[in-house]
């Protein structure tokens, strides 16, 4: 009983932490417990916490709580954990095997920081083109996108809050694009800023929030919606402040 609770909760914790929806986590845990012969399971999941209680046939019960402090979006791990959960339900492997598989997935590959910087550059460049910027703008946006990721990584290393990171990210985007255009490396400041901001916009949080609402997980939906709102406010503060203060200041300075 203890082992089943530990295994199912750990799987739920991992899949939640990497960005799965609430109903998926709840279903995973319930199904695993049912597959091992505990049909009476109460699961409560919100994006920051999991509570699982399983009840025995003779009325004894066991509860486990996990607090989720740090979340990221790792679609590869969500996919693999989802597959593992199906497999566990179907084949019912032993406790040690499940835990070994979980650890194996958890230590699975992630893109190196350098690759992620490259990704930021690509996103910036192609969205600049997408919003009808020129090739010159796109190449400048590529370089600035790489730098943007570098700045974000450095801030994350000092454990800055994500709200502050978004403000700085927005400000960096607006200022660097202004400087690039001023220095003659590119022409369309607005297209570049839009392209680079696509890195920061909380598209994923907003879709997930909508999907939570459809699945009637209102608390999770509210949390994710608030997350999306705060992220956009952060970006907007960064961009507006630098457009309103920094740019005119430099304009005066350089004439």
């Amino acid at each position: 009983m203890k082992e089943i609770l530990a295994a199912s909760t750990t799987l739920g914790y991992d899949i939640l932490r990497h960005g799965a929806e609430t109903y998926r986590v709840e279903e995973c845990i319930t199904r695993i417990c049912r597959a091992y012969g505990y049909p009476n399971t109460d699961v409560f999941v919100i994006p920051s916490s999991i509570v699982v209680t399983i009840t025995d046939g003779d009325g004894s019960y066991l509860t486990r709580t996990r607090r989720v402090l740090r979340r990221d979006t790792d679609l590869d791990k969500v996919d693999k954990l989802n597959a593992l959960s199906r497999e566990v339900c179907a084949n019912r492997p032993g406790y040690d095997e499940v835990m070994a598989r979980l650890q194996e997935i958890e230590q699975g590959p992630v893109y190196s920081p350098r690759m992620q910087m490259f990704g930021y550059g690509m996103i910036s460049a192609f969205f600049t083109l997408f919003y009808q910027g020129g090739l010159l703008d796109a190449s400048a946006a590529f370089v600035l996108g790489v730098l943007l990721k570098w700045v974000i990584d450095k801030l994350a290393k000092f454990e800055a809050s994500s709200f502050f990171i978004n403000i700085v990210g927005g400000a960096f985007t607006a200022c660097s694009c202004y400087l690039a255009v001023k220095a003659g490396f590119a022409h369309n400041q607005d297209k570049m800023i839009i392209g680079m901001l696509m890195n920061l916009v909380p598209g994923i949080a907003l879709t997930n929030a909508m999907r939570e609402f459809i699945a009637a997980d209102l608390i999770s939906g509210m949390i994710k919606f608030a997350e999306a709102l705060i992220t956009s406010i952060g970006i907007a503060i960064g961009v507006v402040v630098s457009l309103a203060i920094f740019t005119p200041f430099l304009e005066v300075l350089f004439g």
Binding site: D76, G119, F126, F130
Partner: protein
Amino acid sequence: MNLYAMIWPCVYSFFASLAFSFTFNLRGANMFYAALGGALSWFVYLLFAGCFSSDIPQYFLSMVAVSIYSEYMARRHKSPVTVYLVISYIPLVPGGGAYYTMEYLVEGNSALAAETGVHTLFIAGAIAMGIVLVSSLVRIYTVYIRRRLKARGITRC
């Protein structure tokens, strides 16, 4: 709209979506399928260009197409829908509208800022409606299939 003008934006959205795989740690063949969804989203958007008096229905139809595509891919590969949906719809995110709203605000042009801001909000709403519609219908369909399987005595884990 001629075909040549349609191809390039779709190519750009394909590669932009592909690059998002690096941020969200998506690997292998799924990278390609998710990016293809990104290209599809903008293709559908351009397909309906000029059919309506505003571009908001275009966003809605495009989101419906992307949601159906993601649900189909998820079932085909036995992966969560999120894997495809999150990346595929990114080209539809109204980043341009959001930026110009801020720019007009800074310039002190509040009338244009309000107009652009409301338009951006409507686009976000249309996108959300698209997901809501498809996901809700798919849920009903799934329950229907499950019931039918149960009636025939087949239970799935």
